[in-house]
């Protein structure tokens, strides 16, 4: 079996199917994902945050899709799930802001509205900041994946 071959993809484009690339990316992808989640969760403690972490996480899915073929990649996160996560992430952000109104602060208030602040410097601290970071991180990751798939499909 040849180590590397070019296969026909849907619509006539070609994808490189390479054993080395495949195995490496399969090995590396989970670590990238864990790192992405780490960056999202530690947004209020270290450099990084929602956008960087979400982009890292989304990039790992894109990497898998590129090194295998689109179908295998698409199995990891379906279109419906991705767009649901997007709407959910963005709406969760607004919901956090509205909860702040409901418990007596202004829109998007954090300490003034009484979110639990915790001890500064620990993981579960900073009230609404952590919640919003997670929501935006989810949204960014799904956005990167959706953008990738949509533009690829448009090229067919």
């Amino acid at each position: 079996m040849p180590l590397s071959r070019r296969t026909e993809r849907r619509g006539g484009g070609t994808a490189i199917e390479d054993q080395i690339v495949r195995i490496t990316s399969r090995l590396v992808a989970p670590f990238i994902q864990v790192y992405g989640i780490y960056v999202i969760l530690h947004g209020h403690l270290s450099p990084g945050g929602s956008f960087s972490g979400g982009a890292i996480f989304g990039a790992s899915l894109v990497l898998v899709a590129l090194s295998f073929n689109l179908e295998t990649g698409a199995k990891q996160i379906s279109h419906q799930l991705a767009s649901g996560l997007e709407s959910g992430g963005a709406f969760g952000f607004i919901l956090t802001g509205l909860i702040a109104i409901a418990i007596g602060g202004n829109f998007l208030a954090n300490r003034a509205a009484g979110f639990p602040m915790g001890q500064a410097g620990e993981l579960f601290s900073a009230g609404a900041i952590l919640i919003i970071t997670v929501f935006v991180g989810i949204k960014v990751a799904s956005t990167i994946v959706t953008l990738f798939y949509t533009i690829i499909e448009g090229e067919e």
Binding site: H44, S46, G49, E86, F107, N110, T150
Partner: protein, 113 residues
Amino acid sequence: MIYFLAVIIFIILTLFLRFVIGIEPRTIVIFYLLGLIIFFFSFTVAEMPAFGSPDNPTFNEVPQRYLESGVSETGAVNIVSSVIIDYRAFDTLGEATVLFVAIAAVIATIKAH
């Protein structure tokens, strides 16, 4: 004297660009216009507050409060995070909306054709 020199350099540069390098006359005109814009901007740049100096107008009470009481007011050690998600959270909502719009626009454009 210096004006005379400048005119000579200008003419030589024009001839050089046109006949030695072979650039189209239209491009040369645009080139000079850009030079003119940069020339005017350079006066503005020269007048700007000095780069990296701690007594710039930007180092006023705004970053001071962020840096001094940011940790106690928002609970985040990373002050950039506390600025984007707490002090100026509405910008980040706008940012999330921009991403959402981009997705909606891309999907709409791709699906429509």
